[in-house]
């Protein structure tokens, strides 16, 4: 377990200290959301209607943006080979890296989302639900993304292949995440959506480390 936490701490400090990766992701997130009022016009009715979806889509794209460096640097530098040889099972190593990725990107995205919700004029209930849905849903984004990132290691035009692979798989969290906020405006059905979103995250937690580790093994072969 010491190796697991060591890897987690290493990845986290690299993400936080190296060139402000978290800052870049957050900057992209904010800018992407801010673009929409310019595109669809500043009427608050429209913005309130599409706001949750916009924030969620922007969060997906921001998470996608940071995925290519999940394994890439370690793959180029050879640390991944050492990880595969170490006593720590590769599945746990993937889990540690995903956890670090989530703390460095998913969690900040969720924390800053209430601010963006104000920009698109969401109500208090919707803001709370948006925050909760991102908090529950972003782990799935990191985990599902890790599979695609591992699969596309060493590919030509990696980032394009990566987005082609990962965006279709992001559709279920998007549907339930944005759906929860939409329902919370009208009644109290949001709980069901959040539970399904949590189920997706838990399923990803159970399944994705295995798939990512399998993909990494064949990449290192």
């Amino acid at each position: 377990m010491a190796a697991f936490f060591g890897l987690f701490r290493r990845d986290l400090s690299l993400a936080l200290r190296q060139g402000g990766d978290t800052g870049l992701v957050l900057g992209f997130f904010v800018l992407a959301v801010v673009l929409f009022p310019f595109g669809v016009g500043p009427e608050t009715d429209i913005l309130r209607r599409i706001g949750a979806g916009v924030v969620w889509v922007a969060a997906l794209l921001a998470a996608l943006l940071s995925l290519d460096r999940l394994f890439e640097a370690d793959y180029q530098g050879g640390e991944l080979d050492l990880l595969a040889l170490s006593d720590l099972p590769l599945e746990l190593a993937v889990l540690a890296k995903c956890a670090a990725h989530w703390v460095a990107t998913g969690l900040p995205l969720a924390l800053i989302s209430p601010l963006l919700a104000l920009l698109v004029d969401l109500g208090p209930a919707a803001i709370a639900t948006l925050f909760a849905s991102l908090l529950v849903g972003t782990p799935a984004l990191s985990l599902i993304g890790s599979v695609a990132a591992a699969l596309s290691l060493g590919a030509r035009r990696q980032s394009v292949v990566l987005s082609l692979l990962v965006l279709p798989l992001y559709i279920p969290p998007l549907i339930f995440g944005a759906g929860a906020v939409e329902v919370s405006e009208t009644g109290d059905g949001a709980r069901a959506y959040l539970l399904v979103l949590g189920a997706i995250s838990l399923a990803a937690l159970a399944f994705c480390p295995w798939a990512s580790a399998a993909a990494l093994r064949q990449a290192l072969e």
């Binding site: 699969l151 060493g154 590919a155 035009r157 292949v161 692979l165 279709p168 064949q218």
Partner: protein, 258 residues
Amino acid sequence: MINWLANPARFMRLSATTLRWCSWAAVVVITVGLFWSLVVAPPDYQQGDTVRIMYVHVPAAWMALSIYLFMAVASAVALVWRHPLAEVAARAAAPVGATFTFVCLATGSLWGRPMWGAWWVWDARLTSVLVLFFLYLGYVALVNAFDDPSRGGRAGAVLALVGVVNLPIIKFSVDWWNTLHQPASVMRVDGPSIAISMLAPLLIMAVGFTLLFAVLLMLRMRTALNERKAMALRLNAGVAAPRQAEHEGAVSAHTAIS
């Protein structure tokens, strides 16, 4: 059987005759099926002649799902037993499956326009089939994205297995969510709820599409194997094509770095 087929030369011999028979069978069955479904079968009492779209749409949808399942099984065989032909088969099946998925989406759109009044609705069945289409495209993109073809094949195999989670979602989407798309009327526990005069041509078309898939699959696998052989011959003869030379250059540069 699976080990016996692992020899590419044996596969080439076997598929040469099978391919001829399957091609003729596909032509005959699809012709009969189209004639039956477009001319003989009765129009629907509500939908009129529009229902004839079903005879292409539904078998295409079945093919879209079963080809993905075929790819997933072939990928599992390729990953577990390192079966040389399974990887070729999965790779060859992907564009065919993507095309069937596209046919399913396009005919569904044409059918939806007069029946639902919209070319496209975002209900669960349609969305999940669209995701299947993107999965096919992602698979093709990933498989072709590597300089080393076998690396692409292995990455694609893992992706195909990951994508299997989408299949039950597609199958049961009409039961889980209250969708505009109608629920299953052929593959039901209590027997099909569709009249025999419509079921017969539908099943004939399904058999025809399956034969067509078998023909295209064998054709593409034979082409892939021949291509591989041609490349090996060219490399042996020492007259590597410019593209190959470039690849080798990239590979040796990579080894030099690592």
